[in-house]
């Protein structure tokens, strides 16, 4: 873990994204096809559906040093599996409450619906997340926790 050795001006936010295969992944592909440039700080993990995204994956991402996490899938009603995102939405809502009580920074956990046609939305959101995270700085709280473990 080299968070401490890096100086803050050289800070490059590390973003982990869990996206569904059928909408957001294709949205990201479309951003590519249309050459919509965005910061390179995001690492996308392709999962079949947001229904597959277990909350513990988000915790894990912070453990390995992510500064922010994005979970994104199809708009309600568009899930390839009809309801995976509805299930996910309810879990996220509750999970955010828990994170909030625990004192995890909710500005570092993003949820979105991005369809296969929304390449521009993907570009915009990623840019925004990276900018905002850059402004907030590294997620020191969690990094310290890890360093002390």
């Amino acid at each position: 873990m080299n968070a401490e050795t890096k100086s803050t001006d050289a800070f490059e936010p590390k973003i982990v994204a869990f996206v569904c295969n059928w909408c957001t992944y294709l949205g990201a592909d479309l951003a590519g096809t249309n050459r919509l440039e965005y910061p390179a700080n995001i690492r996308i993990l392709r999962l079949p559906c947001t229904g597959r995204v277990d909350f513990n994956l988000i915790v894990k991402a912070f453990e390995i040093g992510a500064d922010a996490v994005l979970v994104s899938g199809c708009h309600p009603g568009d899930c390839h599996y009809t309801a995976g995102n509805f299930h996910a939405r309810r879990r996220w809502d509750l999970f955010r409450e828990l994170l909030d009580t625990v004192g995890i920074d909710l500005n570092r956990v993003y949820f979105s619906w991005i369809s296969a046609a929304e390449g521009a939305k993907f570009q915009k959101l990623v840019t925004e997340i990276v900018d905002k995270t850059r402004e907030m700085g590294p997620y020191e709280d969690y990094k310290k926790l890890v360093a002390e473990s």
């Binding site: 982990v16 390179a40 690492r43 597959r52 040093g65």
Partner: protein, 679 residues
Amino acid sequence: MAKIGVFTCWCGENIARNVDVDKVSEAIAKLPGVGCSMNYKYMCSEPGQSLIATKIRELGLTGVVVASCSPHMHLKTFRKTCELAGINPYLIEMANIREQCSWVHSDKEVATAKAIELIGMAVEKVRRNHALQPIRVPVTKRALVIGAGVAGIQAALDVASGGVEVVLVEREPSVGGKMAGLSETFPTLDCSQCILTPRMVEVGQHPNIKLMTYSEVEKVDGYVGNFKVTIRQKARYVDIAKCTGCGSCWNACPKKNKIPNSFDYNLGNRGAIYIPFPQAVPARPTIDPDNCMRLQSMKNGKELCGICAKKCQTNAINFHDEEKFVEVEVGAIIVATGYQLYSIKKEQENPRIKGYAEYGYGKYPDVVDSLQFERIISASGPTGGEPKRPSDGKTPKSVVFIQCVGSRDNAKGITYCSKICCMYTAKHTMLFKHKVHDGTASVFYMDIRSGGKMYDEFVRRAIEQDGAKYYRGRVSKIEQVMVDGERKYRCYGADTLKGTPVVVDADMVVLAGAIMPSSGVTQLAQKLSVGYNEYGFLSESHPKLRPVETNAAGVFVCGACQGPKDIPETVAQASAAAGKALIMLSQPELTREPEIATIDEKLCAACGACVKACPYQAISIEEIRDRKGNFIKKTSRVNPGLCMGCGTCVAVCPSKSADLIGFTDDQVYAQIESLADVF
């Protein structure tokens, strides 16, 4: 030991321009378990693929990562490559360094670093991939068609002519559906029965079709290729195998012509033993237990009447008949349950939808809906095709037609267009004018929607040749008035094009009510796990690319149960559904993607969380028993024929006894952890 081959593609300049592919290959070569790391101009090209294949064979690779474009582009291609080279096609992963890297990041150094990380993630994943075999599911070569209106008839005949057995279930005593009750059809004005009855007869006689009328689907078990459907045959009190359809019974029934016939929307009458209309298929009667004196008297231990049984030469009448449950095994199901008209009265089944109290439907006998009007002008209808109004049997001289009754009316709760009313209203005006030459047909409409071959021409003909009067505007209310001792219905309307009110004293009013799915369709949809919208129209799997499939594998839809549509569209869709079903049933077995959920049965607590969450009802709780049959424990179990691989069960399982093959926790956590070193 893992020996993974990593093949980085330049994609011509597409990747190589922004990603230093040599640097990538070099960095990746250092990762543990990577047996070869190379790059090439076009990995998907023939030489690119053979490069991969050669390396697989030469080095005995245990896994392959192709770092190139999106897996949506070429995963299938490279899976084939692997398979041809002799390793399992599921031992390959792709790293998307084009769409999600070189195309979106212009700083070459940054993009190169990111590409290395993306490939590193793929390497960690593929290390944990397993060889998978496609799932094979046997197929029962038989189809069930639910509903025998024109859609069901067409679908059944097409499937049957394709050489596959069909079970055709219809809840009414006869096939034919709504179309059997129509008069002439637009835009050709050929008679509905003339087109339909031959097909009805064919359905009744086709060697591959098992017709089950007066029957409903009770229960559906199983899954694609292997459904077990329980059908409830209602008590008909007539053994249709013995009956010859001679008619002695229904002609002798003392209740003959005394009971409103629902086939005629209660405008005509029938007996207690009846066939709904002369061309019914099967041409066998049914006893209506609520009106049969014998069946009613039996409740009190008496045996009144029974004349029909006495008249019957073949002993076909059985007053002790009971409903029967029949189980059929089918591989595919086609739903063709059709529509009903929105009930125009004030009280509605669906509380979201409001009625039209202001039109007096149900209160004024001469305010009818368009299906009733079809019967009134149909040659086979209760008036023999003479336009007579229900209240006094007089020929109406002035008829007002109101379109969009319910449809496109947010205030009434229905937002959609019912699609066929513009056309059939134009037809109604023509048929009326052809019969009552000095009559006036006035139409109140919102817009005329007449897209379709010869459709606009048809509406023009109604207006220009047959002189129907069209007013663009709504009718706000209808009052019954007496004019010169004649009962009239005063329609207060508007002509918004002229900006003037229009008041018409009509002898009769015809309301073009909105099209709604048939009653009971949502219950049926639940049995089939098919989705439906807020109005109950069944959901197709994809509006453009999978218009007759549903999200329940092996269940297809056609006709108005999926959305309002006219006869040509219905028939086309029915044939499409039949085609899709035939494609499925023509295979010796079904193959499905192996990337589905599995349960660790030893550890599953059988809490049922996954069972409730699965969008496809693919999981059930089962018992594990030892060889002697002693109960050991309960567990949930995934039906590979149903699971679509969404992974929702994995996320809800507290003990992670559920996992998703192809996206296992093992793989996903490894992917995340591969980033730990670089983060």
